[in-house]
């Protein structure tokens, strides 16, 4: 009896917290917790290496940054650790999910749940967003016909305090269904009351995310609905002022800092990450072996021809350049990505490297809507959105595009006998073009109009989101065959070392080795590779 009293009072005595750790107690605490419900890693570096934006240069002076770069480019299972390794990506997005789940679990215990509505909304959307980004890295593209057979990802909805827990990956269909549910539940609860709204899910940011998600989910009406909600009735007013951005100095961090400015209305959600991508993908002599180099830039992206004419000229005009490149550097760069230093010890100059991304912005959302319209067959609306975007993104374009012009550019002129004259050949490694053979996931494209419209939208998105990792999703969604190519210093093709076709399981990046060693089901791989 005395002992019982003794232990109970001891327990009270021992309840004193050992250090300055916090305990949540108010809506404002939960809001602060949700600052951390956004990942601090971005898969851009990994996915750029993975995608056809990157080629390999064979030149002694241009070395790989690390084995990570080698492995990512080679579509190998990535074992390297580091800021942007697969395990960091996995960790960081699941950390965001854990944070959201702690917030949700806390809210569920409160009696005054109504006061936590906005926080609950943010937590749900954060969880959905983190799962969505993970799915773009570690899962294959959504295909309604196979999604209930494809592997998904664990979708925890509450904290679990056991040390070792085994999770079932479920199917991609379940994963998309879960994201859909969280979005539907969370989005209506969101408010605009953040002190720093560009770093949180405002209704606009969440709608932009939903638009992209439903586009990938092949629910085009939803995609259009959310894109419209994000963009408002006059999207042109919300797009980035590219013209003045092109006019900024390409030196130092001038363009990157402007690109990620929180005062720019085009930026809907900004993400600060631990990353060296600002260096490796930026104008520095590092990591040059694998680069977005001259061959890709001139034939497929920044300096290639499009229905709008020569891209760089359409962007910055005849006199000026938009693309940064220099002798002795393999990289061709649109200077969006800053290199930022966090200093933990000024005297010794040690700290962390950061990059900041505009992960959701109006330009990309508008192109999402254009694609949704195009896939629904509403080509005029799609064209209108494309032209709105181009009016900003390519201010020096001579005239707005027309559907006929787009068809003409990609396919040429159709003769009465059904054959085409002019137009572009499909892309091959030897003769690269901006037109790819498309094998969409679970649907087909109408050849005459829909295909060139989509070609145009894909080319535009590739440009708009260059260096930001989004290209890889289009490759997966449209089953584009991509190649691993070796170039010499003069951008001549030395050899094709590998290719990834629509059915290649490697389109889903292999899970981190640590996670696999803890018993998670791996992504399948073709054994004969």
């Amino acid at each position: 009896m005395a002992a019982t009293v003794g232990f109970t009072s001891c327990d009270d005595y021992l309840d004193k917290l050992p250090d300055n750790r916090m305990e949540l107690s108010s809506p404002s605490d939960v809001s602060k917790l949700l600052v951390n419900a956004y990942s601090e890693t971005n898969p851009a570096y990994l996915l750029e290496m993975y995608s056809d934006n990157t080629t390999e240069y064979y030149n002694n002076a241009w070395t790989a940054e690390s084995r990570f770069q080698d492995q990512a480019y080679a579509w190998a299972d990535i074992t390297e650790t580091g800021n942007e390794s697969v395990s960091s990506i996995w960790n960081s997005y699941y950390s965001a999910i854990r944070t959201a789940n702690e917030a949700i679990a806390f809210i569920e215990k409160q009696e005054n749940k109504d006061e936590y509505k906005a926080q609950l909304g943010e937590a749900l959307v954060c969880r959905a967003y983190a799962e969505f980004i993970l799915s773009t890295v570690f899962c294959r593209a959504y295909n309604p016909q196979t999604a209930d057979k494809e592997l998904g990802l664990p979708y925890p909805t509450a904290p679990n305090y056991k040390l070792l827990v085994e999770y079932d990956r479920g199917t991609l269909a379940q994963l998309y269904d879960n994201i859909d549910k969280d979005l539907k539940r969370g989005l209506p609860l969101l408010t605009n009351t953040y002190e720093h709204p560009k770093f949180h899910f405002t209704p606009a940011a969440a709608n932009a995310f939903a638009a992209r998600f439903y586009l990938y989910y092949q629910k085009y009406d939803d995609a259009i609905k959310h894109a419209t909600a994000a963009l408002g009735s006059n999207p042109a007013t919300k797009l980035r002022d590219w013209a003045s951005w092109y006019s900024l100095s390409m030196n130092y961090q001038v363009q990157p800092n402007a690109y990620i400015s929180s005062t720019n209305p085009a930026n809907l959600l900004l993400q600060v990450t631990y990353s060296m991508w600002g260096i490796y993908g930026g104008p520095y002599s590092a990591a040059e072996k694998y680069a977005h180099g001259a061959r890709v830039s001139k034939n497929e992206t920044l300096q290639a021809e499009g229905p709008w004419g020569k891209t760089e000229t359409a962007m910055a005009g005849e006199e000026n350049s938009a693309v940064f490149y220099t002798n002795g550097l393999s990289k061709y760069i649109l200077r969006k990505l800053p290199f930022l230093a966090e200093v933990t010890d000024v005297s010794s100059g040690t700290g962390y490297a950061h990059c900041e991304f505009s992960v959701l912005n109006t330009d990309e959302t508008l192109v999402v809507r254009a694609e949704a319209y195009a896939l629904k067959g509403e080509y005029d609306k799609a064209l209108a959105d494309i032209n709105t975007e181009l009016s900003k993104f390519m201010p020096h374009m001579s005239a707005p595009l027309t559907i006929e012009g787009i068809k003409e550019f990609y396919n040429g002129t159709k003769r009465p006998n059904g054959a085409y004259v002019g137009g572009l050949d499909y892309y091959t490694p030897e003769y690269p073009t901006v037109k790819h053979e498309l094998h969409p996931m679970g649907f087909t494209l109408e050849e005459e109009t829909q295909d060139p419209m989509i070609q145009c939208i894909l080319q535009l998105r590739r440009l708009l989101t260059i260096h930001e990792g989004l290209r890889m999703q289009d490759v997966k969604r449209y089953g584009i065959t991509i190649y691993r190519m070796k170039l010499n210093e003069s951008d001549e093709l030395i050899g094709v070392t590998d290719k990834m076709t629509a059915d290649d399981p490697r389109s889903a990046v292999q899970l981190p080795v640590e996670v696999l060693s803890a018993g998670m089901q791996p992504n399948p791989r073709n054994t004969n590779k």
Partner: protein, 1097 residues
């Protein structure tokens, strides 16, 4: 009356006499029940009854022997009606002080050692913990740094944890001593300023210490249960004794030898200049590169002079001619600067202490005061320490006593201005910026440099003497302890005790970087645009696209202050019942509870722009703070921790006639350190043990005195510890944080999950089996103690891969385990003992090995190959690995085998975490065999002590002296003379080529090769050594000289400490195998001579 006694004696002599008497305890007069009363030389005897009375027939002329457990045996001439008062058996060997209670050694079943301070304390070594080196089998003491206040690495029976500290628990006069700042074992060798306050007992004056009791096995330590996994060291300070009052003075005068180049293989200036010339020929020391570079020495200075036009004289600092340059360089060649001589001195260290002691039946006291004044072995290492100690016991009434102890110390210390070290995991470079540690400086700096000249470091002028004057740490430490213990004996066999203690420690480290220091000036260095663009200490405003770099420190320097404060409360109440039933069954029951509460506070502040030489007024500009916001750099910080525990414990000993002893302990402990989870925090620990005193058996008697005594002991126990302080997430830990945002307008504060909750978190635990033998031979002229133990450590904190969903991919939990075993042997012999001469020998040997049995370490290659190494399953807890070196190639580059099994020059990944199996295991960094050999010769008043310590079985990493490039400041070792020069040399040497700049520019990854070489199989040595720890000659002046004088006693002792290594691996070339040359505030133990004067009044 006198006559009657005489008569009785006569009668007794005639035959058997029946006598009766009473046996009582001397201290309280209570009867002793069950004391044995025997006729001497006879088995006939009796025991006392409940009133302490006995009656016995004694043959004429025989004496009687009265004995009782825990009391001194008395032999007396029988008298009728005699009253015999038994004294407590206070002979040192007979009592084991556990810090909580005193136990009868004969019934004590654990492995323990008692070390008397008077035998162990090293004169002139003010840190008492260093004195334990080689004093007890199983206790290893590694002086990883000799700087005052830094704790040596002490292990009792080796490591007990992988991530935890494995530090033994220090208990002083019954109170657990906590470190003011919790520093891990690996951090002890870091050389960071924090190590200066790492020793919990730096405030103890060695003269106040009576003894150390080292509790080794789980049985001995089990009363501390969940704190005691790594052993316990109990310190007992001196107390006053009944009788005459004494005043003792002790003075120590120490002089230290300066280190000497003859002990190191550093090149002289001539050879060094030869290497610089080769470097210049290879393109490294070109004028523009050097002048625009951050650091330069002789060549840079020469170029600087050539470029400096003096308008007054109308001349350049140095004529731009071949001859002038040649003369300048030749001067440097002949310079042979002796940095040790310049930076070190052999000033006298003084330590004076005075103690007063005395007492009466009612009360006794001990009071002391001491002052240690150390002017510093090297620049900026001055220490003053003052201590005071008071220990008073008063018997309020016969069965109630109060003991009050208070002690305080103050320390003022200076240390070279030092920043924390860090490791570049990519290139494998361990670096400390602005390191001005004089010992490292002397070894790292070229002997061709002029000590009076300013060269350049970090783009600013640098001179070591100026820097040490203008960049230093002032350390102030206050330690105080107040404790009181009340003891009450309501009945004879029961003692109740309550003890309370308050400890307070406060340390402040003020790192003063004045406006004249290089470190401050480098913040302003922008002598030309190249320097301005390269100096990363300058600031460029990101809000202004076209801003130029500016300094954020236009005036003044820095005032960086770290304050640590600790306040702890301890309370313990115990009851001890001790009774012997029927003279046969001895029972001792001990139980109680204790609570502790430790509040630690740490604050740090970076005062910018302090103008030390301008009225100490700070001058700063807002850009410093703007930069701080943008770079997420805090200019001050605060951390409070609160550690609480509560424990209940009980111990029972049963002894059958003192022959067979059985002991059991149980402790139930709770702590708040694992977080607010009520299930994780409580842990029961226990022990069972027994011993057999064979010499108490009848069959043993015929063997005496050839076999004087023999005791066998065995114990099995569970003890524990809380694991590393960083793992306390039984519930999710939320912490506020400031996420990095590049623009100050975007900043917001948040709360992050620091660690996800782990409700299975628990203590680290250890099962230990111990078997011991105590034996004495030849009338105890030879005493042997032997222990053998086996330990199983489990639930250790380790790293595990998780699926990364509910917690981080790599998470810490109770997933690791290790095992260890060892043997310990102590032999002490009295070789010769005559009236005037004696020779005694003490030999101590211990062997301890451990092996990690389960651990998925997730550390990178660098952790395995540098410093203390790291743990890998199947290897010791701190195992050092090397990159396998396979010779030089045809260009003189080092080649290695990498993790793919390929021979490579540069393809070494220091960050590899998964495939480290290719590394070659070199050995443990903790010694395997340690011990000592001591010989003491006395002749009349003379006493000669020759004390050797030894340590074998570990490996040490040689200093990383190789680099892809060197500057004209670098000093190089003699190994460079054997370097690869021409093709073919690779067949005869393993020292790589001095790279040319062109080679490096063509392949910058060559720097990986040179760092890999530093951590290769080539650069490792055995840590084995035999050290002449102490030679001393003392003389006690004969007492008769002091008759009728105030002076009672006088002794002198001359002692040499750490004089030389009798044996060490030749590859070490003067590198001390115990010492980690980490720079910062670290320094090796000096060779020193001490004169000690002791006088008693």
């Amino acid at each position: 009356m006198f006559l009657a006694v005489m008569l009785l004696n006569v009668m007794a002599a005639l035959g058997q006499t029946k006598i009766s008497g009473t046996v009582v305890f001397q201290d309280d007069g209570e009867p002793v029940i069950g004391a044995s009363v025997l006729v001497e030389g006879n088995k006939a005897g009796t025991i006392t009854n409940i009133d302490g009375e006995f009656t016995l027939e004694v043959p004429a002329g025989k004496k009687i022997q009265v004995s009782y457990v825990g009391m001194e045996t008395q032999t007396l001439t029988p008298k009728p009606g005699m009253k015999i008062a038994l004294k407590n058996n206070t002979t040192i060997e007979e009592v084991v002080v556990t810090g909580m209670s005193k136990m009868d050694r004969r019934t004590f079943t654990g492995a323990t050692d008692k070390v008397d301070a008077k035998d162990a304390i090293l004169g002139g070594v003010a840190d008492v913990n260093r004195s334990l080196e080689g004093r007890s089998a199983g206790v290893s003491v590694q002086n990883v740094s000799g700087t005052f206040g830094t704790a040596p690495k002490i292990r009792v029976r080796g490591a007990t944890s992988i991530y935890g500290s494995s530090k033994p628990l220090w208990v002083v006069d019954g109170v657990i001593m906590e470190d003011v700042s919790d520093i891990s074992a690996d951090e002890l060798s870091s050389g960071d300023a924090e190590t200066l306050v790492s020793s919990a007992i730096a405030g103890l004056n060695s003269d106040d210490i009576e003894s150390f009791q080292i509790l080794k096995d789980g049985s001995a330590t089990s009363i501390y249960g969940a704190r005691a996994m790594a052993g316990v060291i109990v310190v007992t300070t001196k107390k006053g004794r009944n009788g005459q009052a004494h005043l003792n003075y002790s003075g120590e005068f120490t002089t230290r030898l300066k280190p000497s180049y003859s002990n190191f293989n550093i090149l002289n200036s001539q050879d060094q200049m030869g290497l610089y010339k080769e470097m210049r020929d290879k393109g490294w020391l070109s004028l523009t590169d050097v002048l625009n570079g951050s650091d330069y020495g002789v060549y840079g200075k020469m170029y600087e002079l050539i470029n400096t036009y003096n308008p007054v004289t109308g001349q350049f600092g140095l004529a731009n001619t071949q001859e002038a340059q040649y003369a300048y360089l030749q001067q440097a060649e002949m310079r042979n600067t002796n940095w040790f001589d310049q930076l070190f001195n052999s000033n006298l260290v003084q330590n004076h202490s005075v103690s007063l002691s005395g007492g009466t039946e009612k009360s006794n006291y001990y009071a002391s005061i001491s002052a240690m004044v150390d002017p510093g072995w090297y620049k900026d290492s001055k220490v003053n320490r003052y201590t005071a100690n008071l220990n008073v016991t008063h018997h309020i009434i016969d069965n109630l006593s109060l003991n009050v102890i208070s002690s305080a110390s103050y320390r003022k210390q200076k240390a070279p201005g030092s920043l924390s070290q860090d490791v570049n995991a990519v290139t494998g470079e361990v670096k400390r910026d602005f390191d001005i540690n004089p010992y490292s400086y002397a070894l790292n700096s070229s002997r061709a440099l002029d000590p009076d000249t300013y060269y350049q470091t970090k783009y600013a002028a640098f001179n070591i003497f100026n820097e040490l004057d203008n960049n230093y740490i002032d350390l102030n430490v206050i330690d105080a302890k107040f404790q009181a213990e009340l003891k009450y004996k309501p009945i004879r066999d029961l003692e109740l005790s309550a003890i309370g203690a308050i400890k307070y420690a406060s340390t402040s480290q003020e790192h003063k970087i004045t406006e004249f220091s290089n470190q401050a000036n480098s913040y302003r260095a922008m002598k030309n645009t190249t320097v301005r663009d390269n100096n990363d200490l300058l600031y460029t405003d990101p809000d202004n696209a076209y801003a130029l770099p500016i300094t954020v420190l236009p005036q003044g320097g820095f005032y960086k202050r770290t304050d640590n404060r600790m306040l702890s409360y301890d309370f313990r109440a115990t009851a001890n019942y001790n009774h012997t039933f029927n003279r046969i069954h001895i029972v001792n029951l001990f139980g109680g509870m204790e609570t502790t509460n430790i509040e630690r506070s740490r604050s740090w502040f970076n005062g910018v722009g302090m103008q030390y030489y301008a009225s100490e007024v700070p001058f700063y500009i807002y850009q410093f703070f703007k930069q701080g916001q943008e770079q997420n750099y805090e200019y001050y910080s605060l951390g409070n921790t609160n550690s609480r525990s509560a424990a209940f414990f009980a111990n029972g000993t049963y002894s059958y006639k003192g022959k067979y002893n059985l002991n059991g302990t149980i402790r139930y402990e709770g702590t708040n350190m694992l977080g607010r989870s009520r299930s994780a925090r409580w842990l029961p620990t226990w022990n069972v043990s027994g011993s057999w005193n064979m010499h108490e058996e009848n069959f043993f008697k015929p063997l005496q005195p050839a076999f004087s005594h023999l005791t066998l002991k065995a114990s099995y126990s569970l003890t524990a510890d809380r694991g590393p302080a960083s793992i306390t997430n039984s519930t999710t830990i939320f912490e506020a944080y400031n996420p990095f945002r590049p623009f100050s307008t975007d900043k917001e504060s948040g709360i992050e999950i620091y660690q996800s909750g782990n409700d299975e978190l628990t203590y680290e635990k250890k099962h230990e089996f111990n078997f011991g033998v105590d034996a004495g031979f030849l009338n105890n002229r030879i005493n042997v103690t032997f222990d053998i133990y086996h330990r199983n450590n489990y639930d250790l904190i380790g790293v595990v891969n998780t699926q990364g969903v509910n917690r981080g991919v790599t998470s810490y939990g109770n997933v690791a385990s290790m095992k260890s075993h060892g043997e310990e042997l102590s032999i002490s012999t009295t070789n010769i003992k005559t009236k005037d001469f004696s020779w005694t020998t003490n030999f101590i040997y211990s062997h301890a090995v451990n092996e990690v049995t389960e651990l998925k370490a997730k550390v990178n290659t660098m952790d395995y190959i540098s410093g203390n190494g790291f743990a890998m399953t199947g290897y010791p807890v701190r195992a050092l690995f090397s990159i396998p070196f396979v010779g030089l190639n045809e260009k003189g580059y080092p080649t290695f085998i990498n993790e793919k099994g390929n021979v490579t020059v540069t393809d070494i990944n220091f960050q590899e975490r998964e495939n480290n199996g290719y590394l070659k295991y070199e050995g443990p960094t903790d010694p395997v065999y340690t011990g000592s050999l001591g010989n003491i010769f006395t002749y009349k008043g003379f006493r000669l002590n020759v004390f050797l310590t030894y340590s074998f079985g570990n490996v040490v990493r040689l200093d990383p002296v190789f680099s892809y490039r060197y500057t004209d400041l670098s000093s190089m070792t003699k190994e460079f003379k054997n370097r690869w020069v021409l093709p073919g040399d690779e067949n005869v040497t393993t020292i790589p080529v001095l790279l040319s700049k062109r080679e490096y520019d063509d392949n910058t990854s060559l720097r990986y090769a040179y760092n890999a070489y530093n951590y290769s199989t080539e650069r490792v040595a055995k840590g084995d050594f035999i050290r002449m720890k102490e030679i001393s000659l003392g003389y006690d002046f004969p007492a008769k000289w002091f008759k009728n004088m105030a002076l009672n006693s006088l002794s002198l002792k001359l002692q040499g400490t750490d004089l030389f290594l009798i044996y060490a691996d030749k590859k070490l070339n003067g590198q001390d195998p115990e010492f980690f040359r980490a720079g910062g505030v670290s320094a090796p133990m000096p060779k020193q001579f001490t004169l000690t004067v002791k006088a008693g009044f």
